[in-house]
């Protein structure tokens, strides 16, 4: 097997253009598992770990750009204000995995259990792709993630990163699993509140063929907050009944299956519990004084 070692993005794109069959490897925390089990025997690999351009993040005109090569450990260290993303990053694997694993790799694998993905989905993020021949394009997250472990990337493209409009409002990521580390989610949920647009966004992981948004639930809670005036006045309480209904709608949005990690019924139930909790946290956080 050939291992190609580009030192710049330009070089990496050139290699990918010439050798579209070559498999990119970032942290290798998904790929090496497949190699070890013999599920994958690529003729060539492109090691992206030396490509500095991929390993950075910036904010520009109200948007955030997160490079594909950013590791979870770096996110936890450098991006504390992006709480849901940090919570998701901190829940990935173990310290060793977080030191190597990248968001680009999570996107590349496109597992429905990828923990960064519900966060990107809740942010309505775009995935930025680039090829030497055709330049850059952006795809909405749902256009990029086309199915379980399937993406819309072209053979000559690399994932450059992901971009989303910065939101003002509370949010969280939470997941259910058998233990507190080294656990692939049984159910994962990201909820973010967009105060400017009066919207609540909820994305689910591990409970369907790909990441799911609970749009009915999103509309229900946004409407309830509008009619009660809670968007303007955060001290207005949202009734237990509304929260229950929100939980039920989120659970209804899930399309879980039975597998070795959990039953479909437990997963759906888990979505309901995570949704209720995430909503209550967000509502409580909205009530905190601004200086906190």
């Amino acid at each position: 097997m050939e291992v190609l070692l580009p030192h710049s993005l330009e070089e990496a794109l050139a290699i990918k253009g010439e050798r579209p069959e070559a498999t990119p490897i970032a942290g290798g925390t998904d790929l090496m598992v497949d190699l070890n089990f013999g599920r994958l025997r690529p003729a060539a690999m492109i090691d992206l770990s030396r490509v500095a351009e991929l390993a950075s993040w910036q904010q520009e005109d109200g948007h955030v750009f997160l490079g594909a090569g950013l590791t979870y450990a770096t996110i936890v260290k450098e991006m504390p204000e992006f709480k849901p993303l940090v919570q998701a990053s901190r829940s990935v694997g173990s310290p060793q995995i977080r030191n190597r694993g990248t968001v680009g790799g999570n996107l590349g694998t496109a597992s429905p259990a990828g923990d960064a993905l519900p966060v990107l989905a809740a942010y309505d993020a775009d995935v930025v792709l680039r090829s030497r021949a055709r330049g850059e394009r952006s795809l909405a997250w749902h256009a990029f993630l086309t199915g379980p472990k399937k993406t819309a990337i072209a053979p000559d493209e690399l994932i450059i990163g992901t971009r989303w409009r910065r939101l003002r409002g509370p949010g969280s990521f939470s997941k259910i699993g058998t233990r507190n580390a080294m656990v692939i989610s049984v159910a994962g949920l990201c909820l973010v509140v967009d105060e400017e647009n009066g919207a609540v966004k909820v994305a689910l992981g591990s409970v369907g063929p790909t990441i799911l948004r609970a749009t009915e639930a999103e509309q229900q809670i946004a409407a309830a907050m509008t009619s009660s005036g809670a968007w303007q006045d955060s001290s207005i309480t949202i009734t237990e009944q509304v929260i229950d209904e929100f939980g039920s709608l989120v659970a209804a949005a899930a399309k879980p299956l039975d597998d070795v990690r959990g039953t479909a019924a437990y997963r759906r139930h888990g979505c309901r519990v995570l949704a209720r909790r995430a909503l209550i946290w967000a509502l409580n956080e909205r009530r905190l004084p601004a200086w906190l």
Binding site: G38, S94, I176, T178, R179, N180, A181, M182, V183, I184, V260, R261, G262, T263, A265, Y266, H269, G270, V273, R276
Partner: protein, 787 residues
């Protein structure tokens, strides 16, 4: 002669064990670290089917593969073996039939592991698939071809001690419960590995990560048809055993055979996936317990039934079966006892001994049962236990001789430490406290193969410069047996730990120790080491006394000196004493042996259960339950263990904490479960066991009872403390949420199910109908007659 603790200088101290630095700095050579010149690598082809007949094995393409040096099939190793003489049912490579996914069929040796793997893909096996038997119910139903012989029943036991039916009829209160305990695996950090080498003269050496090198030695002799004197087995330090390396494994026999065939050293290291299939771990057991009580809570009689799901082969299963019924009466005073058990063959990886061997399952049944009875009788669960404590220096109704018992003190420690009685009734929502106790053996009183010889032997050789060479067959599996041997000898001879040179677990060099299983090494090899050390010490005292012109009885050995007890200035260096003895009649050596007392009762099957001494434990577990997700966290555990004497308290605490950790894994998440014969999650990522983040705060109390049979009074520590923790978790969940999960592991979906069910319970309704053989009515010991 028992010495008071304050005279001891090494025993009883938390000293750093001799292998600690090499372990933590990565210098310890485990089996897989060995590399010999010209070494090649073996890999094993395993069955993809749970139950199938092998019609044809064609190895021609594999043999032709470049880099392949040998290919073996069942024809090359036709002699059957098994760890127990009564269960010689395994083949190193299956010839006619495979009985679980993972059953070995053929093996390849090649110049590297990749080539060997490629060659495995080139072996063509034709199978005729047979309907698999995947559960106890299917095994009873008996449809399809039996896995072995004419029936899927491997072993039955039916014993009665006194008339239990009559005693139950007369009881004021009777309760019956059915529970299920799922199987789990050992999960050692180190995968099994073996390296075989054949010398120019044909002598075979096998290095293997084994807890039982002596039994491997015997099996190699049998299967390879070689005299044992032409075979040397060296056990390498085990990177964790927990019972998972105490069987004879196919890769050990195959590596040896490949080395014999190719003339080159051969290494086989199992993959993690293979370790899950090699297994020999905890049996899934379905149980029924029925107990009668007087009004005051004292037990009048117990009937216990267990149904074991054994997997594809016998392994230790006959012993496991007896163990599910052996220790009920050592924990509680039970005047009448009936025990019926059956072990079935199923098409799953064979089960065997895992930490607690056959006793955590009945312990779970018994301790949750008593918790329910306590509530029904309106007696607190601690008091119910107190009213049923066994007596020290007694015999149980099933003839087990008990010496020291520290159970009451263990109970006091954890109950006081946790504030159990006061806090239990006023826990915040979702929080609960659970209590349970247990008992375990300090080594099996009988050997695995019938013989009259000692179970442990130690040989000492003293150097002129005061060093001591210690030879013993015991293998350190991380539990610290090297330290125990060195500490005991150093204590008796008055030298320091660093003066002891250990050579262990090498069948050419070291005398027998039966192995690191059944919590026997500290007790038995420790007794042998003490006997050997006392022999050489007495010899040194004899010559020293002459030189010092005093009586040998006046002498003591301390701080590298042999001195007069009351005139410590009057003495000589230890080395000087050795030199005097050596000058007088040559090399100073001494041997010690330990044979357990004959303790079996007057009935068939009485060989499993007797031990020279029993350890006791008590635990209180606190749980924090999430009533919406069903998740259970364990923030704190209080555990007390009757260790007899802690030869090294730090090591004992390590064993206790490790047991708690392992128990929590079994209680809450671990399970060896299968789909279409395939293990559902044979990887460290997906087979869930706790991490450091789930490990609770542990309060460990060591209770010393100075047992008269143990070395310096020591009993066991490696297994017993696991036992009470699992039922204590279940009892705590009941205290927290009011639900009974009578099934291990207690996963969140079961907790939720119980909370939503009217019965507030998840667990088996009953046990299946099964015709046990007629009861053997054993006599009861005199002390129980008429009670």
């Amino acid at each position: 002669m028992r010495q008071p603790a304050d005279e001891l200088s090494i025993v009883g101290k938390s000293l750093i064990k001799p292998d600690a630095f090499s372990k933590v700095s990565g210098q310890t050579k485990f089996a897989d670290d060995l590399a010999l010149p010209r070494m090649i690598y073996g890999r094993i082809l395993r069955s993809p089917h749970p139950h199938a007949r092998i019609l044809r094995v064609d190895t021609s393409r594999a043999r032709a593969h470049p880099g392949v040096l040998a290919v073996l099939t069942g024809d090359d190793l036709p002699i059957k073996f098994g760890i127990l003489p009564v269960s010689q049912d395994e083949e190193a490579l299956a010839k006619e039939k495979v009985r679980y996914v993972g059953d070995p069929i053929a093996a390849v040796a090649a110049t590297d592991e990749w080539i060997a793997d490629e060659a495995l893909d080139l072996i063509d096996v034709q199978f005729q698939e047979l309907p698999p038997v995947m559960s106890i119910e299917q095994a009873i139903a008996g449809a399809g071809e039996p896995i072995h012989g004419t029936s899927n029943v491997h072993k039955t036991v039916a014993l009665e001690f006194g008339d239990t039916d009559e005693a139950l009829r007369a009881a004021a209160h009777v309760r019956e419960d059915a529970v299920f305990f799922e199987g789990s695996t050992h999960l050692p950090m180190e995968q099994h590995a073996a390296v075989a080498q054949v010398a120019a003269d044909g002598k075979l050496t096998l290095w293997t990560s084994s807890q039982t090198p002596h039994y491997v030695h015997r099996a190699l002799g049998k299967v390879l048809e070689m005299p044992m004197s032409r075979i040397r087995v060296i056990a390498t330090p085990n990177g964790g055993g927990f019972g998972g390396k105490s069987d004879i494994f196919a890769h050990e026999l195959v590596a040896a055979k490949l080395a014999l065939v190719t003339g080159r050293p051969v290494k086989i290291t199992l993959t993690r996936e293979e370790v899950f299939y090699a297994h020999r771990g905890r049996h899934p057991v379905l149980m029924k317990v029925k107990t009668g009580f007087r009004k005051d809570g004292r037990i009048t009689a117990m009937q216990f039934q267990s149904f074991l799901d054994g997997g594809g082969y016998g392994s230790y299963g006959v012993a496991s079966t007896y163990y599910t019924g052996a220790l009920q009466a050592t924990t509680y005073a039970i005047p009448r006892y009936r025990f019926e058990a059956v072990r079935f063959f199923t098409n799953k990886p064979p089960c065997g001994p895992k930490r607690g061997h056959g006793t955590p399952q009945p312990r779970f049944a018994l301790e949750t049962h008593l918790d329910k009875v306590a509530e029904e009788l309106g007696i607190d669960p601690v008091e119910l236990r107190r009213r049923n404590l066994p007596k020290p220096d007694s015999r149980t109704v099933n003839w087990l001789r008990i010496t020291s018992i520290g159970l009451e003190e263990c109970i006091n420690k954890v109950v006081e430490g946790s504030g159990f009685l006061k806090r239990r009734t006023s826990m915040p929502a979702g929080r609960g406290l659970g209590f349970a106790v247990s008992c375990y053996l300090s080594g099996a009183g009988t050997a695995i193969y019938w013989n009259e010889m000692p179970h442990s032997e130690v040989q000492l050789k003293l150097d002129r410069n005061g060093g001591v060479s210690l030879l013993c067959g015991a293998i350190d599996i991380g539990q610290g047996s090297d330290h125990i041997l060195a500490a005991i000898v150093a204590e008796v001879l008055g030298v320091s730990l660093e003066d002891i040179q250990l050579t262990t677990a090498d069948t050419d060099l070291t005398p027998i120790d039966l192995g690191s299983y059944s919590s026997r090494v500290t007790f038995m090899a420790g007794n042998a080491a003490k006997a050997a050390a006392e022999k050489v010490r007495d010899r040194l005292f004899e010559v020293a006394a002459k030189a010092l012109q005093c009586d040998p009885d006046e002498l003591i050995a301390r701080d590298h000196r042999v001195v007069r007890r009351n005139r410590p200035a009057d003495g000589m260096d230890f080395a000087q004493a050795v030199q005097l003895a050596e000058a007088q009649d040559g090399l100073v050596t001494g041997t010690g042996s330990y044979t357990p007392p004959k303790l079996a009762g007057p009935y068939k099957g009485s060989g499993v259960g007797p031990s020279p001494a029993y350890s006791y434990s008590a635990a209180v577990v606190e749980v924090d339950c999430d009533s919406r997700t069903g998740e259970v966290r364990v923030p704190e555990v209080w555990i007390a263990h009757d260790i007899g004497r802690a030869i090294n308290p730090m090591l004992v605490i390590g064993q206790v904490e490790g047991s708690v950790y392992m128990a929590l894994g079994e209680a809450l998440m671990e399970e060896q479960s299968f789909r279409l014969g395939l293990h559902k999650f044979p990887s460290l990522l997906e087979y869930k066991s706790p991490t450091a983040l789930e490990t609770p705060i542990m309060h460990t109390y060591l209770v010393e009872t100075i047992d008269r049979e143990g070395p310096f009074g020591a009993k066991e520590a490696g297994q017993g403390p696991l036992l009470p923790v699992i039922p204590a978790v279940a009892n705590a969940i009941y205290n927290a949420l009011g639900v009974r999960i009578d099934e291990v592991p207690i996963t969140p979906d079961k907790v939720l199910k119980a909370m939503n069910d009217r019965s507030k319970r998840v667990g088996p309704k009953s046990v299946p109908a099964f015709d046990f053989p007629p009861l053997i009515n054993a006599d009861v010991p005199d002390e129980w007659k008429g009670k």
